[in-house]
């Protein structure tokens, strides 16, 4: 395997694990690089970063919050909204490590070829957002935050292992045996929120159909394969909001038909 086939995969793993290590060090040794956890962090002891969905749920409960968390959520929303798109899911989220492992094992064991396929809608995540906000408003408790495998796994790594890890194993098994990319690609409302936030973001994957040999490796590896509808047909950027900018399609492509690019808003025709 050539390095160019795993370049972004390795970069992503380094990013994810470095962030988890910095979070861990923030609690264990008091490092002031990245403190807190994935719902709200303090960068370099100064800059707040907050999960916009967690804040939205807190608003739904009717609580009044401090200014730090508002600034933090604004920074995150602007970053992914302008630059990153849905990159949180593939470059930051710890559950991505688990679900990618399940997806990899699924490919290795040829489960898709053997197992009876279960179909569920990829839009469940958007319904989950609405339901989470309704439940938050009714119960007065940020509803997704008490079941979120993302923060549960994150806290298990930072503050010590607990039985919440069972939920992570359950998601692994769900993704492995029930639905391909079941959690991240169908259910997770946080992924839905970042999809919506990143609708107009600049950082995009671009397809050059002239180079494409229709090997379909990219579609096979993509966790949101429906976003690659232009493969072999049109030379355009992947503008579907569910693309996580993970770069796996670019990795596996041996024909230079996919690359990262900045979305061209100003001059659409000259592309």
């Amino acid at each position: 395997m050539k390095f160019s086939n795993i370049k972004y995969l390795i970069l992503r793993r380094i990013t994810q694990l470095t962030l988890l290590f910095l979070y861990f060090a923030g609690n264990a040794w008091g490092w002031k690089i990245l403190q807190g956890d994935i719902s709200t962090s303090i960068l370099f002891g100064k800059v707040p970063l907050s999960d916009p969905f967690a804040l939205l749920q807190i608003f739904a409960t009717g609580a009044i919050v401090g200014v730090n968390v508002l600034i933090g959520a604004l920074i995150i929303t602007l970053f992914y909204g302008i630059i990153g798109g849905r990159a949180f899911c593939s470059w930051v989220c710890p559950v991505n490590l688990v679900t990618d492992a399940a997806a990899w094992l699924r490919r290795v064991l040829l489960i898709d070829k053997i197992e009876r396929k279960v179909w569920i809608s990829r839009n469940i995540r958007y319904y989950m957002i609405v339901i989470a906000l309704i439940v938050s408003a009714i119960t007065g408790l940020a509803a997704f935050e008490v079941v979120s495998p993302i923060t549960i796994l994150n806290r298990n790594i930072i503050f010590g292992i607990g039985s919440g890890l069972g939920l992570i194993v359950a998601i692994f098994l769900f993704d492995l045996f029930v639905v391909k990319n079941g959690w991240c690609g169908h259910i997770c409302p946080l992924g839905g929120v970042y999809s919506i936030i990143g609708k107009y973001s600049l950082f995009r994957v671009k397809h050059t159909s002239e180079n494409c040999t229709l090997c379909m490796k990219c579609k096979n590896v993509c966790p949101e394969s429906q976003v690659l509808h232009m493969i072999g047909k049109k030379s355009i950027t992947v503008n579907d909001i569910e693309c996580t900018n993970c770069g796996r399609c670019i990795d596996v492509c041996d024909d230079d038909a996919l690359e990262f690019t900045i979305r061209n808003y100003i001059n659409k025709e000259s592309k």
Binding site: G36, T40, V65, Y127, L141, E145
Partner: protein
């Protein structure tokens, strides 16, 4: 028999689709809401200092753990060899009977040491730990005496001081020495020549730090901290200290309809009452 085949009209499809979505949505809200309601009820939880009332705290806390990190990493949290000790504030795991991800403490493991600079409170990004609750309005400085995590309670049957043994472990462990816990002297009539030194808590001063619970010598602590609304009763407006001017002011605020002795039973004639059973039913 030639049963007529039901035709799926666009209208039928439209309404079925709506029912489908509403039905699934309602199912989600009910299941999820049921779990969230259950997850919320943890009445015996002790929260970090300056926490909002439990309901508001659960709404506001974003579960970031910055308070717990400030607690464990405070410079004075080291043992004699310079190694870091466990922090007071823990983040609830799935197996704790506390809403998952929220900060709490268990005094018998690690009590709150009532740091003068209260490092856990100012770091809270959402205000779930409300700094104004521990800020002295006169000096505008942090004041650990204003902390209120709970209140200590003594089980007088398992407290050996109430047996007549001399023990003042809790009294001496208290950071507000001789204020939050006082030793009340009573004559020991069993021996006829000794005194009981009974620890009695002043709930107006006690912050619920739990240093007494940690210090208690009995196998399972005879003094322990409970959330204030669990540990304390409320007199209500029916009873007033006639000898206390301030308490009489409290009684003046009560409304007339709140103190009436008339109830459903008053509608009946006294004779009916006498002829019915003793409960007046």
């Amino acid at each position: 028999m030639g049963e007529k085949k039901e035709k799926i009209t666009p209208r039928r499809r439209f309404f079925t689709d709506i029912a489908h979505h509403i039905g699934l949505g309602a199912m989600g809200v009910l299941l999820w809401g049921g779990y969230a309601t259950k997850a919320k009820s943890s009445p015996l939880t002790l929260r970090p200092p300056a926490a909002l009332d439990e309901d508001d705290f659960l709404k506001t806390c974003i579960k970031c753990g910055l308070c717990a990190e400030a607690c464990v990493n405070r410079p004075q949290n080291i043992d004699k060899n310079g190694n870091q000790k466990k922090g007071t504030i823990k983040m609830a795991k799935a197996e704790d009977s506390v809403t998952i991800g929220t900060p709490f403490f268990t005094p018998r493991d690690v009590p709150c040491f009532m740091c003068e600079d209260i490092p856990c409170v100012p770091v809270c990004p959402t205000g779930a730990l409300d700094i104004t609750k521990v800020t002295n309005p006169k000096t505008n400085e942090l004041d650990f005496r204003l902390m209120d995590m709970g209140v200590a309670v003594v089980d007088v049957h398992s407290c050996i001081a109430f047996w007549g043994l001399q023990c003042d472990a809790c009294y001496r462990a208290c950071p507000l020495l001789d204020e939050a816990i006082k030793l009340v002297y009573n004559r020991n009539s069993r021996t006829g020549k000794h005194a009981f030194l009974e620890p009695v808590i002043n709930p107006d001063v006690c912050t619920g730090c739990g240093l007494c619970e940690k210090a208690c010598v009995t196998e399972k602590p005879a003094i322990f901290v409970l959330p204030r609304d669990v540990a304390q009763g409320k007199v209500g407006d029916h009873y007033v200290k006639g000898w206390d001017k301030a308490d009489q002011q409290r009684a003046k605020k009560r409304k007339e309809e709140d103190i009436t002795t008339h109830d459903e039973r008053s509608k009946k004639k006294p004779l009916d009452y006498l002829n019915s059973n003793s409960l007046g039913l």
